[in-house]
Symmetry: C2
Subunit: 435 residues, 2 copies
């Protein structure tokens, strides 16, 4: 098999980073001025800003506003290489990765491939539910919801119409909560204007959480307030609700009850992306790869794993850190520093997670914030949420565009991105001519 073309062997140590998410991108940025030959590989040519996927799904933002072309990171640098490819396999003995573009040997390998939706082995749910772990899936979710409303217009059967209007979200973590809130606001402010022919009092938004509270891991106050905010927006929140089955029309719950809906959104679990070529002993809980406090993969001297894909047991976090952007960014930062130290022969430093807090927004003026030491809810939490996310978005222009969109929506109570571009083509029977 051929090597990936046009990446020169020039005596420099080659460091391959797989994945351009928060972890991989941050690391690539850190190493721009290193002496490594850096090769960044991703399935897409853009970085995705996951925390705002739910706004893409609810027509609040365009995909481009929260994506960043990965090539821009390395503009004008000739010996740093980005390739769109899928990595299938790592030959750890030959120190070579196998991709759909060919082979590539490495001196150091960093795996930062993140995670994907976990359906916990339930095939009926996997087949019919809508996930939201990539930009493409977020657009697909938007299209599905809009298509269902269009379909509802053409439905005369009342029950089928209600099923098209209803939306069920599974998972009471920040993604589920933020999505439920945004959909509830869409129902309140926009849909009745766009579809005056439909009766939206018959549309119900359900948030189902298997545990005893939503926003598990947040402070008690935030968890309680978030539920209160959602209910204020008319979201039906059900705790201790276990989804057993979903056939595309009917959600069956553990207590024997059921809900009719054409749209079940699954935000209830994450599993690490996997890659072939590693023994079972390095794989931990949730498919995550076991690393030490330098993000060194267990028993593999020249391989590092960072972000959602890694699990590092420390004193502070004996079961590993949460799979959130903050951990990914901090690990990438530390690994970047450590690799530069490695180059200059200095010893590495151990990773230590600084929890900067957690935020979640439910709707306009409604958010919860847990900062180290104190927590608060309401308008100021919402302002903090806006500010933190705006700063975190990569690229000044994206920040401007997101800001314009947010300001627009806030003052007009409207979004204008309700476009079905490249929708799934539903095949309808062609009409029969009667003459």
């Amino acid at each position: 098999m051929k090597s990936i073309a046009n990446i020169p062997d020039n005596g420099k140590k080659r460091l391959i980073i797989v994945g351009g998410g928060f972890a991989g991108l941050k690391l690539a940025l850190k190493l721009r001025k290193s002496n490594f030959q850096v090769v960044l590989i991703d399935k897409h040519n853009y970085h995705q800003f996951q925390p705002l996927f739910y706004q893409v799904a609810t027509s609040g933002l365009e995909p481009s506003a929260i994506s960043f072309p990965l090539r821009k990171v390395f503009q004008k640098q000739k010996d740093i290489h980005f390739r769109i490819a899928t990595v299938e396999y790592v030959d750890t003995k030959q120190k070579t990765i196998y991709t759909d573009l060919g082979l590539l040997a490495y001196d150091y390998l960093v795996l930062a491939m993140g995670g994907n939706t976990n359906f916990f082995g339930n095939e009926s749910i996997e087949k019919h539910a809508i996930p939201m772990k990539s930009l493409t899936e977020a657009i697909n979710l938007r299209n599905t919801i809009l298509e269902n409303f269009e379909e509802a217009l053409n439905e005369v059967d009342q029950q089928k119409q209600e099923s098209l209007l209803n939306i069920v979200i599974v998972g009471g973590g920040p993604t589920g909560v933020e999505l439920a809130g945004a959909l509830a606001e869409m129902k309140k402010y926009i849909l009745p204007k766009d579809y005056p022919e439909l009766d939206f009092s018959r549309m119900h938004i359900h948030l189902l959480e298997a545990g005893e509270k939503i926003l598990n891991g947040y402070s008690e106050a935030s968890s309680v307030k978030a539920k209160e905010y959602l209910e204020r927006l008319d979201v039906k929140v059900q705790l201790n609700a276990l989804v057993k089955n979903y056939d595309g029309k009917e959600v069956e719950l553990g207590d024997g009850s059921s809900i009719s809906t054409d749209s079940l959104i699954w935000a209830a679990g994450i599993k690490a992306n996997n890659i072939e070529g590693f023994p079972e002993e390095v794989i931990g809980r949730g498919g995550r790869m076991i690393v030490d406090e330098y993000n060194h993969l267990k028993n593999h001297e020249d391989i590092y794993v960072i972000g959602d894909m890694a699990i590092m047991a420390t004193k502070d976090a004996p079961k590993g850190h949460p799979q959130v952007a903050q951990v990914a960014i901090q690990q990438a930062n530390m690994l970047g520093k450590n690799l530069l130290r490695l180059e200059s022969g200095k010893p590495m430093q151990a990773f230590k997670y600084k929890d900067k807090g957690s935020l979640a927004t439910v709707g306009r003026n409604l958010a919860v914030a847990d900062l180290p030491g104190f927590s608060f809810q309401g308008f100021f939490a919402w302002i903090l949420w806006l500010f933190v996310h705006l700063i975190a978005i990569l690229g000044v222009k994206n920040r401007v565009l997101v800001f314009v969109n947010w300001a627009w929506s806030y003052f007009t109570y409207d979004q204008s991105l309700r476009l079905l571009i490249n929708p799934k083509k539903k095949k309808r029977a062609l009409p029969q001519k009667t003459i």
Copy 2:
């Protein structure tokens, strides 16, 4: 066959408009306060601003910035109905349209379905060339070009690499000219930064025109200047160049020469969209439907055709008007007035086209303008072009977004929309494991 659901028969005269382009949308807006029951039907749920497709194709603008949700036109109005559907057939005797959603009877029918790319029956070109007559096609064009650059990185064969880099545009009308100019600027300012591994002196942009000049129908000065501007931007303009064949790799010209390219963009012709159910006698040149000066379809009292789909022979335009937005908008405007006059029993007024002039832009500070009575080229023509297009875009927010994007590109010499979202999936062979 069933009727389209949930559109009431309530004694009002039903007027169906097929198509939400410049003509259909303008007419719908005009009739918002009429006593007709208006039904608007389109294949998409958005209006497309065609004049800026080329900027979507060259990563300058997002699709959403130049689209407008058709539902917003009728917000809060209960007896005006928009449906996403494809109209297959008109039964003119029963006064009924046949769609993939069902039947619908009309009192008046307005056809405003516009045009599509005309390949003039050349199947090899139709199969391999890239058209740009819809937003989806514009995005597809963007993706194809970006994917070819990515592919070029992985190509070791010099000739194949050049073929991936080269772009040939066929058709020297405003679309071809504007696209060639935008691609030339992309090559000059952006691509060398994004792909420092590639040598862009080996990339060539060709504009092929079958006639004796580009911008046919414009003033001689504008036509000559536009060619000069394009050549200044290093576009190879060939006049009297007839494309005979294209197999996806090699363009064969009438003079026996050929050009290697993986990207042939076809902007050389338009044909009217057609609909079944009409006799041949009402179909004119280019598939356009023959109308009188009230946009009345020949021999059909209750059917009107407006915009690109119609052909109206008048004293000023014995061969019909040009298929441009201005004609569509003015015809819709006049028909709107005439339908309101019809409601109140007044006689209709004949359509008279006011040519407001023609504009075309080649690049930054470079445009040509033909106004009634005088023509000018250069910076002020460019400013006029920007201004006219900004005003013409529907929706204040879209205008703001387009303006931000333009200002950004102008000052930074950069675009940031180079994202391959939902690209065509090229299937590559999976690697063989050697161990």
